[in-house]
């Protein structure tokens, strides 16, 4: 391309300035002001009160991300070793759930986990509760699953697992087979090949998978509300409450959103430096 075509990017640069940068500036302005728009830092000094919510959200999101990684990596690895036709079908099967709205899937999960839901009915039909009550002398009618932190983590894993599998898979599939053969020829056993070659090379995929699971998990509000019952708020709930929920205060809400954003950005930055600035793996 001899003559410079960079002006083609101008419309989008303007667009970004308007709809990406300006809105974030609005959040910053709101977070440093009171209801009558005079300067204040109160919104941030109050943040200490919400430390519990911050830790809870980060804890659950980290657990969910780890589970996704532990479940997703072997799956992506196993998929990559299958034949081409098989991979094609498996890919399709992973993408497909995304086309059923996640709220609906979560809602269906809810009907599975309810006290009177499908899982508990199944347990009682196979006589699990009778068995437990007879042997242990307890009086259990159902397992309480809905409204617990476990249910929230399950919901996150269920919803975001595909986001972990896809980038890892797309990195593993591109690995140079000759590298693996070379490693084997040089005497590495399969564990060694995995540890020394495959895993380090799939790190970019892992990093982008972790990002794509962690960020939506830490900020979710629909999942925690449906599966967690909303008793123990998460960051997403807290922010939503201040804007469209029952405790209107967009200034405090902006401050919380800003703090969350900064923590997430710092986490990602640190993590990406672990990956030694690898080029970001494309999701699909």
């Amino acid at each position: 391309m001899k003559n410079n075509r960079s002006f083609l990017a101008i419309p989008y640069v303007v667009w970004m300035a308007l709809f990406v940068v300006a809105p974030i500036i609005m959040v910053v302005i709101y977070s440093f002001t009171t209801a009558d728009f005079s300067f204040t830092t109160d919104n941030f000094t109050r943040m200490g009160t919400f430390a519990v919510i911050f830790t809870r959200s980060f804890k659950l999101a980290i657990i969910a991300t780890l589970i996704c990684l532990l479940v997703g990596y072997p799956l992506a690895y196993a998929m990559a070793r299958e034949g081409k036709e098989f991979q094609r079908v498996a890919m399709l099967l992973i993408m497909l759930p995304m086309w059923v709205n996640f709220l609906l899937r979560t809602y269906a999960t809810m009907s599975i986990l309810e006290n009177n839901g499908i899982l508990n009915q199944l347990f009682s039909a196979i006589g699990l509760f009778d068995f437990l009550n007879n042997t242990m002398g307890t009086d259990i009618q159902y397992f309480r699953m809905i409204g617990t932190q476990g249910a929230v983590v399950l919901g996150m894993v269920y919803n975001y697992l595909p986001f972990m599998i896809l980038p890892i898979y797309s990195v593993i599939i591109k690995l140079d087979q000759s590298l693996l053969e070379a490693a084997r020829d040089l005497g590495a056993n399969s564990l060694g090949v995995f540890r020394k070659v495959i895993f380090p090379l799939s790190l970019p995929g892992i990093l982008s998978g972790v990002t794509m699971v962690f960020v939506p998990s830490v900020s979710t509000f629909a999942i925690s509300r449906l599966l967690g019952g909303g008793i123990q708020m998460m960051l997403g709930d807290l922010i939503e409450q201040q804007f469209l929920g029952g405790a209107y205060n967009p200034h405090l809400g902006s401050a919380i959103a800003l703090v969350m954003m900064i923590i997430v950005v710092v986490c990602m930055w640190v993590m990406n430096h672990f990956g030694e600035g690898e080029e970001q793996a494309v999701m699909l």
Binding site: M1, K2, S6, F7, L8, A9, Y12, V13, W15, M16, V20, V21, P23, I24, V27, Y30, P74, L75, A78, R81, V89, A90, L92, L93, I94, M95, L96, P97, M98, W99, V100, N101, F102, L103, L104, T106, Y107, A108, S111, I112, G117, Y158, L161, P162, P216, S219, F221, A222, G236, I239, E240, F243, S254, A257, M261, V264, V265, M268, Q280, M283
Partner: protein
């Protein structure tokens, strides 16, 4: 060899297990869309009544229409803008490109709720100022002897803002999937075309576009999927009178989702399944044909 086979059985079993976990709720949803009763837990016999009632339900039909319209429009706009921007970024100096790409990554890296809240605040502030102007000032124009008073329209959150939001979070995905194809492209090709007398536009249509087409298609596909699946950003930017399917469902999860929603989801699911199968079969046939050609 035998350990290998055993491994394969094990790994397939594992995959089946994970897929079962992923599909259990969806299967449940599909099964209960054929339930005669309203319950999502108790089976009361087979019936197609929810499919019949679905087409009477204005709210659901309207929100499906809104969802599809906003997704198609946003994908179309994002694909065109994203492709040209990717070319623009590609021919830019690194000094300029790096910071712009960082900003470009913001909507992707940011939590949806932050993007949604930020856009909501921005639109409301801009519209607030605009509406103040509109209600306090009116132009008078003298046209052909008659005097007209022009009052500016008031702006509210609605389909327009929803579309802007969707375009904004879609473009980065398009750029991200077009850029690698541009890098892989042999730049001599374009030069050759120009030397042979093509204008840049002709070179674009004949050389660049075919080269980066796979990137454009996959970018458009991701964008469309993201648009359809989005709930949080729409929730904050659509205002009170526009509702996507996801927002309608969210409203319903509180009162109890009607099985009509299961029915519409089943329909969408089957349509997408069908489309994906068709595309895949065609692709794999094309690949096999190409492989055969190479052999002979």
């Amino acid at each position: 060899m035998s350990t290998n086979r055993k491994n394969r059985v094990g790994s397939r079993l594992y995959m089946a297990l994970v897929f079962f976990f992923l599909y259990a709720p969806i299967l449940l949803l599909i099964v209960f869309s054929f339930n005669a009763g309203k319950s999502g837990v108790v089976w009361q016999g087979f019936s197609l009544q929810w499919y019949a009632e679905l087409f009477q339900d204005r709210l659901i039909i309207q929100s499906v229409y809104t969802t599809l319209l906003v997704s198609v429009l946003a994908t179309a706009i994002a694909t065109v803008v994203g492709t040209f921007t990717a070319i623009g970024f590609f021919s830019m100096r690194r000094r300029w490109r790096a910071p712009l790409l960082t900003v470009n990554n913001i909507p992707m890296m940011n939590a949806d709720i932050v993007t949604g809240v930020a856009m909501c605040l921005f639109f409301v502030a801009v519209f607030g100022g605009w509406n103040y102007l509109a209600s306090n000032y009116a132009f008078t124009v003298n046209l052909f002897g008659a005097i007209y008073r022009i009052t500016l329209p008031k702006l509210y959150l609605g389909f327009g803002t929803l579309l802007i939001a969707h375009v904004t979070f879609n473009i980065p995905y398009v750029i991200l999937s077009v850029s690698p194809k541009l890098r892989q492209m042999d730049s001599n090709l374009v030069d050759a075309a120009r030397d042979l007398g093509c204008t840049w536009l002709q070179a674009f249509g004949k050389v660049i576009l075919p080269e980066i087409m796979p990137g454009i298609i996959s970018g458009a596909l991701i964008a469309f999927t993201m648009s359809v699946d989005d709930f949080v950003i729409s929730y904050f930017t659509a205002g009170s009178s526009t509702s996507t399917l996801a927002m309608t469902i969210y409203g319903m999860t509180k009162k109890g989702v009607t099985p009509e929603i299961n029915a519409i989801s089943t329909i969408l699911f089957v349509v997408v399944l069908f489309l994906l199968i068709v595309v895949n079969v065609r692709e794999s046939r094309a690949e096999k044909a190409a492989a055969k050609r190479q052999l002979s």
